[in-house]
Symmetry: C2
Subunit: 375 residues, 2 copies
Amino acid sequence: MRTGFAFHLDAVNPGGPRAGVLTTPHGSVPTPLFMPVATLASVKGVDIGRVAETGAGMVLANAYHLHLRPGEALVEQAGGVAAFMGWRGPTLTDSGGFQVFSLAQQVRVSESAASFRSHIDGSPVELSPEASMRLQERIGADVAMQLDHVVALPAPREAVADAMRRSLRWAERCLAAHRRPDQALFGIVQGGLEADLREESATRLRGLGFDGYAVGGLSVGEGPEAMVETLRATVPHLPADRPRYLMGVGQPRDIIAAVAAGIDMFDCVLPTRCGRNSLVYTFDGQVRLRNLRHATDPRPLEEGCPCLACRHSRSYLRHLFLAGEMLGPILASIHNLTFYQRLVARLRDGVISGAFDAVCRDLLARLALAPEADG
Amino acid sequence: MRTGFAFHLDAVNPGGPRAGVLTTPHGSVPTPLFMPVATLASVKGVDIGRVAETGAGMVLANAYHLHLRPGEALVEQAGGVAAFMGWRGPTLTDSGGFQVFSLAQQVRVSESAASFRSHIDGSPVELSPEASMRLQERIGADVAMQLDHVVALPAPREAVADAMRRSLRWAERCLAAHRRPDQALFGIVQGGLEADLREESATRLRGLGFDGYAVGGLSVGEGPEAMVETLRATVPHLPADRPRYLMGVGQPRDIIAAVAAGIDMFDCVLPTRCGRNSLVYTFDGQVRLRNLRHATDPRPLEEGCPCLACRHSRSYLRHLFLAGEMLGPILASIHNLTFYQRLVARLRDGVISGAFDAVCRDLLARLALAPEADG
């Protein structure tokens, strides 16, 4: 890996789950790790000091969004995205590949670049692998991601294979274009739900030699079983000595399954998005704070949770949501972010102690209690 | 004053400005003091730990709002409004007189009570002086306010006099109905902009004997000169050994003028309301964060301000507002609340040092710079 970066494994359990430490120029973070999402250089509703208090060690921002607002020049002038938002630890930027294909309008992909119109004001934007590298270097996170070509699933096998191979060619161009010696670069495995395409993608990316490897194009509605199958077809073809990052995942059960399959890093908007909508995670399942059952409940959301929200009663938190007070979304987001950090910490402890399987069984049984889960 | 309460004056300057300490069962706070407004048991957008970090010593909640949502039974069950919202210091509840006359629908006032329809769901509510005392005792703040009859200004002198005298009769009934020995009760001077009515109200309230005295019915568009004139006609008739509270005021210049006139306590929604709308206060005037001039400004809002927002650049804060991030309103509210605490602290220091007039002149000159003030 690049100077200033290291990935050290503390323990690996049978079948794949790992506990490690990722070192970057801005500090070391234990893995498995969960990155709160600061799309626009802000974790929605949570000041950066409170983000640190949740136990988060590394934060993700989005190069596509920051390019549109406020522009990379401003972020660069501030000393990079971490300094811009006042975060003292490591950061990672997504290249924006996923956002281009999910948010932008009139997307056209040629071999040279993705062309599209901004989802903010419709202005034309072109993103090539080289431009993405330059963009992410200016935004200045510790870890940059290659530009990839993402297709929505389900899709014909030919379209999936075509996008995967274009992503490989773009990976090569990203490697060639990337300059910053103090920034790591991760490749992204694509290939939809096709095991052989995933293997091809992982094997060829590995041959190119990245600082870390992401699995992209999942958590797009394929269901947990398909996700795990795809990981099982992918992870064995990735080098053991580099961090593995499952992008955009996910529900607690997905994170547990992915750690079991050997994944080290995660990011997801669910903790803050659900929190804003009064849905909170606990180790005994999800809680809908607007539910009448909490109206007079003096208990915290979760006994033993050290977060700010859990210094209050469920009845107070419910009142905040019913009264439309901003503090409801703020506190629920803080709780959910804390929950995700406690979840990955327990998985790590499970790996370290060698009791990972038992820890997972216990976690999954309790999470499935989900007395108020949706669906 | 009641057991557990005290008001001690540290210094009084010529002409009236005072520096004191108000002691309550939940702690002592220096005066002049500014209370952040937690209408519904939440300071909008700011978690209670961050509220404490702004330097606030005492918080105001609103009995009318809490009666409608979530109801006083829930607040009482939680151990009172301070425990309900997790605030460890003193609290005060407004009786809701002002809200009844500004928010409620179909208000009818008889000698016995104000009857109206809830602004939430239109349901009928009746608020008598006795009911207000029972309500505020259950909500359990350290300081309760009498129920008063507020008329919108301008109003005919007869209407103002009638409401002022009804407020006096209600003051007497509140005193008779109030039971909690651990809760102070403040009377409220009314009388519009009529100096003789204000004198009559203050003199007769003083004769009834309250723990503190509020000046109500101001900051309703009368302008700063009329406000100060009214205070000059009122304050000399209030006892020197009791705290004086100017309700709902106001702009920084109003607070400076009111402290000069001998007022000790303030509350106002402006710091949080303006903060949510990207208008921030500094000692060099107001700043509109959306203004293009801040787009690339690496400086904090205010040099030397210890608040969370001032750890960031103006360009970052502007970006948050332009991108619609919740963190913009959160940080701007925190800055404004901190500004108000620093303002009253400087006024207090001015009184203590005997240099109050010079401190005021300096503050007013700098505040008037207001490069971006509205209007």
